[in-house]
């Protein structure tokens, strides 16, 4: 039943996003704008290695903050969350649905942001590194979505959520940032370099598992009175 309810909530969230187009376009526009700013701010047409990796992941992380801040926006209007809380569904369904929605938003964001990054800033060709990069992106997105949905739930009923979300979320995501930047760095080099990809992917998988399980365990209490 939890998964059926989660599917219903996810379907509803996607229908709202499709109608309002508030989260994904904002994230994509923000990311492209930041890449343009870096392009001019660094005064370089091409970057590579750790600089490229850092710019990419910090931008994606900050774009995530935008979506997390809005993740419960529809529920806040007209107390719609109460409608879910009155239904015979496990509160975990809300978490799973929100995390899945955020994961999909991130995938859509990256479909726009990666080509923009490649065109505006990146020196090396991404084509060869794409399979490895996709693995990094998937594991990083699970971490961002898992922690993002938890923080969104925590901040949803607070008045200062625009402040609380980044203050809580960004420190929690530092391990994801380190691992994804380290894993991506050799993939964005002009010349091939030795890579610890397996180690960092393993680290991210562990991080994802720990935080998703932790979130599933505590989310019920976040939505309690």
């Amino acid at each position: 039943m939890t998964f059926a309810a989660a599917r219903a909530i996810l379907r509803k969230d996607l229908a709202i996003e499709l109608r309002t187009r508030q989260s994904v376009p904002a994230m994509a526009l923000f990311s492209v704008t930041v890449f343009v700013l870096f392009h001019f701010g660094l005064d370089r047409n091409e970057i590579e290695g750790s600089l490229a990796s850092g710019v990419l992941w910090v931008t994606l992380l900050l774009a995530t903050v935008l979506a997390v801040t809005r993740l419960f926006a529809a529920e806040r209007e007209d107390a719609a969350l109460d409608g879910i809380l009155l239904a015979p569904v496990d509160r975990t369904a809300v978490y799973l649905a929100k995390a899945a929605a955020l994961f999909l938003y991130l995938v859509l964001l990256e479909i726009v942001a990666l080509p923009a990054f490649a065109v505006l800033l990146l020196g090396p060709d991404l084509t060869d590194a794409l399979p490895e990069l996709l693995a990094v992106l998937v594991l990083a997105d699970i971490g961002l979505a898992g922690v993002g949905a938890l923080v969104a739930g925590l901040a949803s009923e607070t008045r200062l959520r625009e402040l609380i979300v980044p203050l809580l979320l960004l420190p929690l995501l530092v391990p994801v940032l380190i691992a994804s930047a380290k894993a991506t760095k050799p993939l964005l080099m002009q010349v091939s370099a030795t890579t610890d990809l397996g180690k960092w992917l393993g680290f991210m998988a562990l991080y994802d598992m720990v935080f998703v399980l932790l979130a599933v365990a505590v989310f019920d209490y976040l939505l309690e009175d």
Binding site: R7, K12, E77, A80, G83, L86
Partner: protein, 223 residues
């Protein structure tokens, strides 16, 4: 189950302030409890406690045979709540909202169209809630609250924003004719007393009377 609601010295606080204190009342299944009190008396807080949306901080509360807050999960899905807010998603249509709630409550989808017809909104069922008048939103909220055939209706000014014809049309769903146990909050003293089996008077969160009440007693609450 003979009693749908059993409250004994119920308490609820917000910080240091007592929003409900010493509320005791028993409501048989199928009966209507009218709750009276001026603004801020604790009526909405009482409904939210009964719905399991707020935890009681003291006393004893039993709803449909389940003790709150420990067994609140048992009564979820058996309560129809109409509050000040519609609990609907403004960017979805009435139909999308009701289909969403039908999935949560495991109600067959064909019941959605039946409810839309029952509240007289087939022509606007595909419009986003954001574009509807307040009266229409209220009708949609009633459709949502009664979609899953709840045993207990918690109704906070359910006829607010409704024209007389719409209010009449909703009677089979939320009126005495529904046959459900109802907790009804309304400032329409005469009409509410006429359809109530029991009354509860609240002043600043404290119970002033419970049981049979007359219009004079109720009016004194608002004095």
């Amino acid at each position: 189950m003979s009693e749908a609601l059993a409250l004994d010295a119920l308490e609820r606080r917000f910080g240091e302030r007592n929003a409900l204190s010493g509320v005791s009342v028993r409501v048989p299944a199928g009966a209507t409890l009218a709750v009276f009190g001026s603004n801020g008396a604790g009526k909405t807080t009482l409904l939210r406690v009964l719905a399991g949306l707020l935890k009681p901080h003291g006393g004893h509360a039993e709803v449909l045979g389940s003790k709150l807050p420990d067994e609140a999960w048992k009564v979820r899905g058996n309560i129809g709540y109409v509050g000040h807010e519609s609990l609907l998603y403004r960017d979805l249509s009435i139909r999308q909202n009701l289909l969403f709630h039908a999935r949560l409550h495991r109600v067959p989808p064909d019941r959605v169209e039946e409810r839309i017809a029952a509240v007289g909104l087939p022509a606007r069922a595909s419009d986003p809630v954001r574009e509807l008048s307040r009266g229409m939103v209220q009708r949609a909220a009633v459709a949502r609250a009664t979609l899953h055939h709840p045993a207990l209706l918690l109704l906070d000014e359910p006829r607010a924003n409704l024209d007389p014809a719409a209010a009449e049309a909703l009677e089979p769903l939320i009126g005495k004719a529904s046959g459900k146990t109802r907790v009804l909050v309304s400032h329409d003293v005469e009409r509410t007393l006429a359809e109530a089996d029991l009354s509860l008077g609240l002043r600043a969160g404290r119970q002033v009377f419970a049981g049979a009440a007359d219009a004079k007693q109720v009016r004194e609450l608002y004095a």
